[in-house]
């Protein structure tokens, strides 16, 4: 089963932006104040280049493991896959934690028990046990949901925003820009995720730059959302976690119609439930690719991993701020190593183009 070009572009343009709409806007506002658009723009330009490199690598028609094996041998390839897989498991942690807190805070009006979110991990175990290439169809379904929801939230939000609040540019200075850009790395793993997809889709002419453009188009939507978010909350934006559930509630019609924006918020959170598990799925897929696929291994691995995520997110339930500060603070260097440096370096791998009949 292969992922089609359309499905891949749906992922890049419609699903990849979703993970940047929950906690990242608040984090950026904390670091860069009204300049929050600049770090996001810088990240998107950087990551679009990474997406371009990763898609260029797909020209060779081989998976990452085969490429590494042909260049360095199987042992190094296994090590590379294992290390990348460990990173992807780590990269999934923050989005899953975000998703958990989002559901607990937005869909409940008191603090629910830990078990209220537990079924999510059954869902996670199921998703992670499935081969990654089978998710193209899921993206076909989720992309329209994501577009519909984000457009809905934006339409309800724009009227409440004072976009002049984004002025003046450069108020946070160079340090604010740098801190914002660095702290945003944990939310940008889309380029390196494409490495796990290598060999699961066929390269077509112009796909690399078209993919990068799709990614930038999604980025433009995120930037617009970010501008709207800051335009609504201005100096208090730092206090508004779960951004995409907050902006639309000031729509004047809501006093008459009720929280109709929840239709969009729930739809977006459903799409997010798939998105936040993508790195973990990719990690499982890479591991199976490197070490073979005994019959029950995917299921066992997925269940164990889901249990680990359940335990870790339960432990981190009241320590989200500390986790966020650690992941986007002292440990932030881990992300650029994998998400920025690795994909271009992979272009150096030797590998023969597979003959496709």
């Amino acid at each position: 089963m292969k992922i089609s070009k359309r499905q891949l572009f749906f992922f890049l343009a419609c699903l990849a932006p979703l993970g940047k709409l929950v906690v990242l806007p608040t984090a950026l506002a904390a670091y860069s104040k009204n300049d929050l658009l600049l770090p996001m723009l810088a990240q998107y330009l950087l990551q679009a280049a990474v997406v371009f490199c990763a898609l260029l690598l797909a020209k060779r028609g081989l998976g990452l493991y085969e490429l590494a094996a042909q260049t360095f041998g199987k042992i190094v390839a296994k090590i590379l896959d294992t290390v990348l897989c460990a990173f992807l498991f780590y990269a999934s942690l923050l989005p899953i934690l975000e998703q958990r807190l989002f559901v607990q805070n937005i869909f409940y009006d008191t603090l629910p028990s830990l078990l209220a979110f537990a079924p999510f991990f059954l869902f996670a175990a199921y998703l992670m046990s499935k081969p990654l290439a089978s998710f193209g169809r899921t993206w076909d379904i989720l992309a329209p949901i994501a577009i519909f929801s984000l457009a809905g939230v934006l339409i309800l939000s724009v009227g409440s925003a004072d976009y002049a609040a984004l002025l003046p540019t450069g108020a946070a200075g160079g340090s604010g820009f740098l801190r914002g850009t660095m702290s945003a790395f944990p939310w940008f793993f889309d380029g390196v995720f494409l490495l796990a997809l290598l060999g699961k889709f066929n390269y077509e002419k112009g796909m690399a730059w078209q993919g990068a453009l799709c990614y930038l188009a999604g980025g433009a939507a995120v930037l617009f959302f970010l501008a709207t978010f800051y335009g609504i909350f201005q100096e208090t934006a730092v206090n508004q976690l779960f951004a995409f559930a907050q902006t639309s509630k000031y729509f004047s019609g809501i006093t008459v119609l009720g929280r109709i924006d929840y239709i969009f918020i729930i739809a977006l959170s459903m799409a997010l439930a798939f998105y936040c598990l993508l790195p973990a799925q990719a990690g499982v897929d890479l591991l199976l690719h490197a070490y073979g696929k005994p019959r029950y291994l995917p299921t066992i691995l997925a269940v164990v991993l889901a249990l680990v995520y359940f335990t870790v997110t339960s432990l981190a339930d009241f320590r989200f701020e500390a986790v966020l500060k650690t992941v986007s603070g002292p440990l932030v260097w881990i992300f650029p190593v994998f998400t920025v440096a690795l994909p271009p370096l992979c272009l150096l791998l030797r590998g023969k183009r597979r003959e496709i009949s």
Binding site: Y108, L122, F123, E235, L241
Partner: protein, 392 residues
């Protein structure tokens, strides 16, 4: 064999989706929950006092609809401690999702009110679109008072902040979110409506259970309580979170005109030996700051109005005319200029950046903001532009 796991997955997915997207699963026991309609915040000698107006079910003998309420007061070292004390007194879990009004007592407003509002800006379950107001005297007395026009005082006060009231230019409502933005922004200044309660002449509550008492938290009301009507046509000015001035009714109106939000407000002006009232139909107001040379602020009001009434009788043909005479137009212009000038002086004296001049400067030039932020309000000179146009 392969279909069995698939069915299992489908069932699991259904369970997951149901659990994931359902709300609360009965986690909230409504019998043990206090739906707070309004909160009154007061200063105590050694801390804070919070009065919560809690919605309670009406008795079955009541045939009309509406909301009944009980007021509970608690004291503590922080607002959070007060809320916890309310919980301890009643056993009801306080819920702020439906809280639409926070009233701050006049004494409390003399301090940085964000020491009171801190709890509400942090509370994730708080509705930040709720209205804020300052009141004469103690907020506890206002929140606990019996309204002459509604079941609960908060509902009556809430009516003062309706879109229609805003359109009349008599009130300048502010939400918790907007007041917080003003407080934390470059201006550090804001404003809130100032609520006064007046006893309705010759009226006493019917004992419908619409009000409760403080302290013990019992639901009392009953005959003998004076019913109140409320006004919010004055505006309290804030700088650094402290109340520093009070705009009277006529200046609140002109401030509304500057905001461009008056759509059916009335304004009185002399016309010859009599007084006339005009109705503002269209309002385009604004404040701009120019830093070319000496700092200059331009306050402009541009209104289209019609004649509403006169204090003297007129012939029948005259009553059909909506057009404003040239003399009245000039008179209205003069009145507005005088009031704009008075508004400017009052804001300047109080040290409140009422017109957001610092914010404008911050947005236009960081360099000039750094240079002028401390001296701008004292040095900027005003210019008033008023244009009054009659219908027809």
């Amino acid at each position: 064999m392969r279909t069995v796991p698939m069915k299992l997955y489908v069932i699991l997915a259904a369970v997951v989706l149901f659990t994931f997207f359902s709300n609360d699963f009965g986690l909230v026991d409504i019998q043990k929950t206090a739906i707070i309609l309004a909160v009154g915040l007061d200063k105590q000698e050694n801390g804070f006092s919070v009065t919560a107006q809690i919605a309670v079910p009406k008795g079955t003998d009541r045939t009309t609809g509406g909301t009944s309420s009980v007021e509970i007061e608690a004291e503590g070292d922080t607002v959070s401690a007060c809320i916890a004390n309310i919980y301890a007194k009643t056993g009801w879990v306080p819920k702020f999702v439906f809280c639409d009004l926070i009233v701050i007592g006049a004494e409390a407003a003399k301090e940085d009110v964000f020491s009171y509002l801190n709890y509400f800006t942090r509370n994730k379950y708080m509705n930040d679109s709720c209205m804020l107001a300052v009141c004469e005297g103690k907020a506890q007395e206002l929140v606990s008072s019996a309204s002459a026009i509604d079941d609960a005082s908060s509902l009556a006060i809430g009516k003062l902040f309706s879109d229609a009231s805003v359109g009349s230019g008599r009130v300048m409502p502010v939400t918790l979110k907007d007041f917080s933005i003003a407080y934390y922004g470059a201006s550090g200044s804001g404003y809130l409506p100032f609520v006064r309660a007046k006893t309705q002449e010759g009226s006493q509550s019917s004992g419908s259970g619409s009000s409760g008492s403080s302290g013990s938290g019992g639901q009392s009301g009953g005959a003998g309580t004076n019913e109140k009507v409320y006004t919010a046509d004055e505006t309290a000015l804030f700088s650094g979170g402290k109340m520093v001035g009070l705009l009277p009714e006529e200046l609140t109106f002109v401030f509304s005109l500057l905001h461009g939000q008056v759509k059916s407000g009335n304004l009185d002006a002399p016309e010859g030996n009599a007084d006339s009232t005009i109705t503002v139909l269209k309002d385009k107001g604004g404040v701009s700051l120019s830093m070319k040379g000496a700092p200059k602020a331009t306050l402009s009001v541009e209104i289209t109005a019609r004649l509403c009434c006169k204090s003297v009788s007129s012939d029948v043909e005259g009553t059909a005319k909506e057009e404003i005479s040239k003399e009245l137009l000039e008179s209205v212009g003069t009145v507005l200029k005088e009031r704009l000038s008075a508004l400017w002086d009052l804001a300047k004296e109080s040290g409140c950046d009422l017109f957001g001049l610092k914010k404008s400067l911050f947005r236009s030039s960081l360099k000039k903001y750094a240079e002028w932020k401390d001296s701008l309000l004292g040095t900027v000179s005003p210019e008033f532009r008023v244009k009054v146009t009659s219908v027809n």
